[in-house]
């Protein structure tokens, strides 16, 4: 933000800082602290760090870090956001709003990927990786060719297609000015007919059914096994598991999501969760007889892509030994 601060300093000459009575509470923020937190990037590129990334590198990084949710071609997986496509659909019945079709500023994409992605492992990408990913997203939207290199220098060359697609809130003029005054109280319309009913669609969640008693008994059974695990390690593992929750569910009522259910995974043969479509790589390992023990799981989770080339699990891995011990203990505690 150095450019921005300079601009601010210049402006300060012609304007007055508001110095009301202060309380003298708080302390001065250090430059290192401001640099660590003030990372937002503005439409004119203010705030961008020096760096660059090309489309082909971006394709690789995207496949590793983003594709599990957003698809190899940024087309989106399931309900996760589509980042590409949708050109000229904004006036359609079902507009597809992507970086290419809707987002007005490239700075927003860079800023969001840099500060908020990947989901579950935010703020882990280097500036060059972010440049590369954003270059690939532009390429996926047919906005640049495959030789394009995005950098802090080339950033201002790109204008997104929907840059001018926005107007400021005009509700006061277009709505409020019309919908004021004393409303009709009697004989407001001749006929009233029901034109649509929610029950026809039937998309409302059911209220929970009370649990049958025998279900409760089942839950109690595995507790004895769990007791042999170190409860502190299991608790630590539960925290580590937050990194996994975007894709994996455990516990009662768990369902297969982007990744399979992990109930009872420790001791289970690989590839055994019913109804989950595994990668070819995992299926091959399963056919070779891979069983998920605490050791094999720890090896996999330390570096998934090294342990199993071609896995579709887009997770870079747990670096710390204690996190690996904790996560395997936690997974051992979540029985079927």
């Amino acid at each position: 933000m150095s450019k921005f601060l300079k601009a601010a300093a210049a402006l300060a000459v012609v304007s007055t800082p508001v110095m009301a009575d202060t309380f003298g509470i708080g302390r001065a923020a250090l430059p290192e602290e401001i640099a660590a937190w003030d990372k937002d990037v503005r439409p004119d590129g203010t705030g961008l760090p020096v760096g660059s990334g090309d489309v082909l590198t971006g394709e690789e990084v995207f496949a590793d870090q983003c594709a599990v949710c957003h698809g190899d071609f940024a087309e989106g997986v399931g309900n996760w956001p589509k980042l590409a496509g949708g050109a000229d659909t904004l006036a359609d019945d079902d507009p597809l709003k992507t970086v290419g079709s809707y987002w007005p500023y490239l700075s927003t994409t860079w800023d969001y990927v840099n500060r908020s992605m990947p989901f579950g492992n935010a703020q882990s990408l280097s500036p060059d990786e972010v440049y590369a990913i954003v270059a690939y997203i532009l390429y996926s939207n047919d906005l640049v060719d495959d030789e394009f290199v995005l950098s802090n220098e080339t950033f201002s060359e790109v204008t997104l297609p929907n840059h001018d697609g926005f107007i400021l809130d005009d509700r006061l003029e277009t709505e409020h000015s019309k919908w004021v005054g004393e409303p009709c109280m009697e004989n407001c319309k001749d006929e009233v007919e029901v034109t649509m009913r929610a029950m026809v669609l039937d998309v409302t969640p059911e209220e929970d059914e009370p649990e049958p008693e025998d279900a409760l008994e089942e839950v109690e059974a595995p507790i004895a096994e769990v007791a042999t695990l170190d409860p502190e390690l299991v608790a630590a593992g539960e925290k580590v598991f937050k990194k996994c929750k975007a894709c994996h569910q455990v516990g009662e009522g768990a369902k297969n999501k982007t990744g399979p259910i992990l109930n009872g995974i420790v001791g289970q043969a690989a590839g055994g969760v019913e109804g989950f479509k595994y990668s070819k790589a995992l299926q091959a390992k399963a056919d070779e007889g891979l069983v998920w023990t605490e050791d094999t799981l720890a090896a996999f989770l330390a570096k998934p892509k090294a342990f199993m080339k071609g896995t579709k699990m887009s997770f870079s891995g747990l670096r710390k030994e204690k996190d690996l011990a904790a996560i395997t203990a936690y997974l051992a505690s979540v029985d079927d």
Partner: protein
């Protein structure tokens, strides 16, 4: 305790009798036989209840365990970047208990200790500052009741009646009494530059949710809040500190707020460009649609709160609110908008806070098309869905403040419908 003049509450407990008393002219029913709940000594009237150490922090009694937040699984890809809904159909009054107030997260509800909390003010200020949680408690503080409504509340209803319950159609809202420090106080402490027309506010969670707020609003009524309904904020609502932006869309009420930057232009962050912008029929989108328009809904009877007592006295109740000031009046229609009656406000409307309304009426036992229509102090009248669609089309997702219709059948059950 012996209130024989109305007898209403007593009558309510005579369950079976009330239902069969439908045909009686004068209202009061006759019991066929003495009620054993009265004539026999009940266990609770004889034995002992829990001691004072049973629940150091109490939860609602088990009989109320259906009054909970619910989510709609198909709405979002997962439950971490998702939303749930306040059970407004089962609540009364206006204050939402924190434990059932809707949640909206972009990266899940994080756990951030007060000791680990830091708030930075930087950008166009005389002195960039860092505050701890303890620092915030040393500034003069204020108490205000405000509603917080997600801009997408009722967003699933644009194309047609879809979700069957007030919780799902209107439950992305809560209303709490906040305790906090005016943002103005903190900006003055840092010596904000008058050339800075915007503040950018940012959360500490992994989503880095951030929004640009015009300085005028920031100096007006925005609070940096650390208590709600008298106690610490809940984790899911931004513990230990969140922003309160009265009357404006919930996404701007940044949770776990960690940074406030004074700037001369908006950031144009993801949540103020690709999201929380409203696509009109011609494909052009409105941006900076911050204020929540006046809106109301009948919470009872409603699909999750059917009429269980047959014809006779009926309390129709609901909520009304406006992001542009106080609610002045609410009208209710039982015939789908042909005729309207003005409801009773439980208290005069307060600015940017929920207002409870009641229509104490006599139900003839016939089908009703129930609607409510709010009016705020600017003179604005809550529009019909047809009026909104005429201006905005079907794809704006956000800011749907249309009049809601419940079809209440003769058996007391209700359904979400659209009417001509």
């Amino acid at each position: 305790m012996t209130d024989n003049t109305t007898g209403k509450s007593r009558r309510a407990f005579l369950k079976g009798a009330a239902m069969t008393g439908v045909g009686l002219a004068a209202g009061q029913a006759n019991a066929a036989s003495p009620d054993p709940l009265i004539t026999e000594v009940q266990p609770w009237a004889s034995g002992l209840g829990d001691g004072v150490d049973a629940a150091p922090y109490g939860m609602p009694i088990e009989y109320e365990d259906d009054v909970v937040r619910r989510n709609v699984e198909w709405l979002t890809a997962d439950t971490i970047s998702s939303i749930n809904f306040t059970p407004i159909h089962a609540l009364d009054g206006t204050i939402t208990p924190q434990g059932c107030a809707f949640e909206r997260h972009h990266s899940g509800a994080i756990e951030l200790k007060k000791e680990d909390y830091r708030l930075m003010i930087n950008g166009m200020v005389d002195q960039p500052l860092v505050f701890t949680y303890a620092d915030l408690e040393r500034f003069p503080r204020e108490n205000h009741v405000y509603f917080c409504e997600c801009a997408a509340n009722t967003g699933m209803e644009w194309a047609g009646a879809q979700l069957n319950g007030a919780q799902f159609t209107h439950g992305m809202i809560h209303n709490m009494e906040y305790t906090g420090v005016p943002l103005r106080t903190l900006l003055e402490e840092a010596g904000y530059d008058t050339a800075g027309k915007w503040v950018y506010v940012e959360g500490a969670d992994a989503s880095s949710n951030g929004r640009s707020i015009p300085m005028e609003k920031a100096l007006d009524d925005v609070l940096v809040a650390f208590k709600a309904n008298g106690e610490a904020l809940r984790k899911e609502h931004g513990y230990p500190v969140r922003l309160v932006v009265p009357g404006w869309e919930g996404n701007m009420w940044v949770k776990w707020i960690r940074r406030i930057e004074v700037a001369n232009a908006p950031v144009e962050s993801r949540e103020e460009t690709s999201k929380y912008t409203d696509v009109l029929a011609n494909g052009v989108a409105r941006k900076w649609t911050w204020e929540m328009d006046a809106k109301s809904v009948v919470t009872s009877p409603s699909p999750q709160a059917p009429i269980s007592h047959g014809k006779g006295p009926l309390v129709i109740s609901g909520l009304a609110w406006s992001g542009r000031g106080a609610i002045k009046r609410v009208d209710v229609s039982v015939d789908g908008g042909k005729t309207w009656q003005t409801a009773r406000l439980a208290k005069p409307g307060e600015k940017m806070a929920l207002t409870r309304f009641y229509l104490d009426t006599e139900w003839n036992g016939e089908e009703m098309l129930l609607q409510s229509r709010a009016m705020d102090e600017t003179g604005y009248v809550q529009p019909t869905k047809a009026q909104l669609r005429e201006v905005r089309g079907l794809n704006s997702i956000y800011h749907n403040n249309c009049i809601q219709t419940w079809l209440v059948r003769a058996n007391g059950e209700a359904e979400n419908v659209e009417v001509s």
